[in-house]
């Protein structure tokens, strides 16, 4: 455990203990929101984690959003995987960004597609823009090297005991393999050559 992480864990423990006696999760949600607005994402993360431990399960999704902003995408994916599905479109939007940052593009696309119009005009527009950017990557048949990368990640994360993250990489590998298989079959039926490498 690094010094920074240990310090953060200690701060979290103190805040949880204080929060249990003083007003519960609400002040921590408000403090987290203020930090998030001010782009102090590490401080926001601590507050949201405290709120979560004080009995607000939805705060796990907020912590995931802070992790996305800190570009700690794998941790964010893990957090969203284990968080209860908030049902709020913003939760899914940030979860999609976590997937995107961890190169889980099929996952990101699926979440963004599910947002539909329930997210409000701004997020809907951003979701459309991201999906448009993802489309060429997702349409191209993936190379064997790409597939191997996702499978390796899955194995590596499983070996580290990060089962939820490993499962996310395995699902992505499966989605890529299905696309590759479909492209190969299509190419075979067209009498065309082998699929070109995506990447």
């Amino acid at each position: 455990m690094t010094g920074g992480v240990a310090l953060q864990a200690a701060a979290l423990a103190v805040l949880v203990a204080a929060g249990a006696t003083e007003g519960g999760a609400e002040p921590h949600l408000l403090a987290g929101a203020a930090h998030f607005r001010a782009e102090r994402y590490d401080a926001a993360l601590v507050e949201f984690r405290v709120a979560e431990r004080l009995g607000e399960p939805e705060a796990a999704g907020y912590a995931g959003a802070a992790l996305v902003k800190l570009e700690r995408f794998e941790e964010a994916v893990e957090t969203f995987e284990t968080a209860s599905p908030g049902g709020h479109p913003l939760h899914d939007y940030y979860r999609a960004l976590a997937c995107y940052g961890a190169r889980l593009y099929s996952c990101a696309d699926r979440l963004l597609a599910g947002l539909g119009d329930r997210s409000g005009p701004r997020i809907a527009e951003q979701a459309r823009a991201i999906r448009a950017e993802l489309a060429p990557t997702l349409e191209a048949p993936p190379s064997e090297t790409s597939l191997a990368w996702y499978r390796d990640r899955c194995e590596a994360r499983r070996a580290e005991g990060r089962a939820a993250l490993a499962a996310a990489y395995c699902r992505e590998a499966d989605a890529l393999a299905a696309r590759r298989g479909a492209a190969t079959r299509a190419a075979g039926s067209d009498g065309a050559g082998p699929p070109r490498n995506g990447g």
């Binding site: 999760a25 609400e26 949600l29 408000l30 987290g32 929101a33 203020a34 998030f36 607005r37 782009e39 949201f48 607000e56 939805e58 705060a59 907020y62 959003a65 902003k69 709020h88 913003l90 939007y93 940030y94 960004l97 995107y100 940052g101 190169r103 593009y105 409000g120 701004r122 997020i123 951003q126 823009a129 991201i130 950017e133 993802l134 990557t137 191209a140 993936p142 190379s143 090297t145 790409s146 990368w149 996702y150 490498n197 995506g198 990447g199």
Partner: protein, 152 residues
Amino acid sequence: MRHASLAVLALAAALPVAALAEDDVTRSGGDRAMRAAHEVVREALLERATLPARPPALPDGEMMESGARADRARRDEAERAAHDRAARHGEQQRARHAGGDRDHGAAGGHRGGMHPGDSAGDCRDAAGAVRTREMHGGMEGGHMGGGHMGGR
């Protein structure tokens, strides 16, 4: 007396109801405050919801090779920096001890095979054993070529 008993009974019956009602009010007030707090967080999240900073790119062979190259470059840089630090440290030691030209094998500053503290008069033989200034008679010219600079 009978009236008093009835009043106590009525009070006893009313108390839990009143307490319950008060709990409900507190709870519903708390719920409202919590809902408001969640709304404030969502507004902050919405305000800061941006597009990804980088375009999507599947990891392919070229990317992994360039990643490995970058890792290698970082390692090389770290080794170079560590060596520079060691050399600087040696020079500082030498200055402190004011050994000047009497320093064992130190003419011309640091050179291959030196380690922190070497220029203070101590040095290492090829096996890395530290020898002091008093022992240096047997190490004339043997100061170069320690494993420290291998390959660089």
